[in-house]
Symmetry: C2
Subunit: 233 residues, 2 copies
DNA sequence: GCTAAACTGGGACAAGCGTACCGTTTTGAG
DNA sequence: CTCAAAACGGTACGCTTGTCCCAGTTTAGC
């Protein structure tokens, strides 16, 4: 989509409403401060913020069921119940809107991932549940992830996602007393990625995911057992 | 995408030229028989076939670098050096053209994968080379793969792709005398997928891919060593 | 030769897209 | 209250898209 050179994400080039933050790539991209906007009141800000949120939610929803090309200004506006012009008023361009939507999606995904991994059940069950989440959302997410490879700004967000997954995975491994090094985490996360995308795209029936994960975790334990046994000699 | 109902302009299957294969996967409502076109010569057939091939090649090339939305009728026609109308003459719709192009792409990709895995070098080096191929093309491939999750026809092709990768991987493991079960192959292929897509999208520097693959293959050998050692007692 | 079919290719069409314009309404500070 | 700025929203522009039409050309069978 419009692979414009655009070295910088964009600049404060247009009138631009209240939101003073540029593209999401940073760390806490959305609504960082938003406070004390020069001559803006609070009610207005709130309404504007709500509209922005509605637009973002609409974009995410459209992305989920309909895919990438479904996220058009008109569709987003209609879904959010705002006039068409609001989309360009709150977001300089479609690319920017998509970028923000991607950020939001990643945030939600990381939160969901953390919640599942912190939840009940054995680790392998939790991981299996992870890759078997709502397919529509996963498809949209992966679609964006792949698309991110074409845009430096989105690529940064994609890396954030991967890093977040690694962190969540490390926490889960620690909690369940699985011996693990950073390399182990990376290994498992990579496997999880493959499993995740294959499951999402191909949607084959069966327990292949569960089996694969069981095997991977057993490898972890086995490696420890072996080294422990050898060391004990 | 103009999802026109259009039951049939004046016939069930448009004029439609000689190409005798239907939609790549499944059976498809398109060109059911088409065999032995009554009064068609051979020279004409050949020329028509050449054009079809040129169109398909053009579509594949566009798919490779430019991704999915790059495959437009006009772009394909221009790339193939044929007039615009030829695209709708040889393919009923853009979707059909894309499906055929996808099939061809997967075939070629599987062939290329097989060639690399059958080539010289250690297995880990060959696998590393696999995930480090031309990035633009890989991006296009993954884009298509993910998109395939939204279309049953394309999904079937995607599964074919995965199965082909599994087969190629099994062959390579056998050649290099790695002990492996079908589950091992699946495990390794899944890991490879994860590694592949992460490498393609995020393009992080370093030798992480090589390391991860080394580790995975060592796991294979280790499992055998361990079981062998245990059995030897 | 002739005829009907397959093929060619230039052009046109409606639909949908991102985006910009610009007059109107709402808002909050003075 | 006044009033400038911000927010809003209808609408239009320029462009690209997929697809179709149709007159012209080539081909194969007679």
């Amino acid at each position: 989509m419009t692979s414009h050179p655009q070295p910088s994400p964009f600049q404060a080039g247009t009138p631009q409403p209240g939101h003073g933050h540029s593209v999401p790539a940073g760390e806490g991209p959305d609504e960082p401060a938003t406070g004390a906007r020069h001559a803006s009141g609070k009610a207005t800000q709130k309404r504007a913020q709500a509209r922005r949120d509605a637009l973002l939610d609409a974009a995410v929803a459209l992305l989920e069921d309909g895919g990438f090309p479904a996220v058009t200004h008109r569709a987003v506006a209609h879904q959010a119940g705002v006039p068409l012009a609001a989309t360009t008023y709150y977001f300089d361009s479609r690319d920017q809107l998509v970028a923000h939507a991607f950020t939001r999606l990643v945030e939600r995904e990381l939160a969901a991932t953390g919640a599942i991994l912190d939840g009940p059940g054995s680790l392998v069950d939790r991981l299996t549940a992870l890759v078997g989440q709502d397919r529509a959302r996963q498809l949209g997410l992966w679609e964006l992830y792949v698309h991110a490879g074409r845009d430096p700004v989105l690529q940064a967000i994609a890396r954030t996602w991967t890093d977040g997954c690694d962190a969540a995975l490390a926490t889960a491994l620690r909690r369940d007393r699985y011996p693990h090094t950073p390399a182990d985490v990376r290994f498992l996360a990579t496997l999880l990625s493959g499993l995740w995308i294959e499951t999402t795209v191909e949607a084959r029936p069966g327990t292949a995911a569960h089996d694969t994960l069981t095997r991977a975790l057993n490898t972890l334990r086995a490696a420890k057992d072996v080294s422990g046994r050898l060391r004990a000699r």
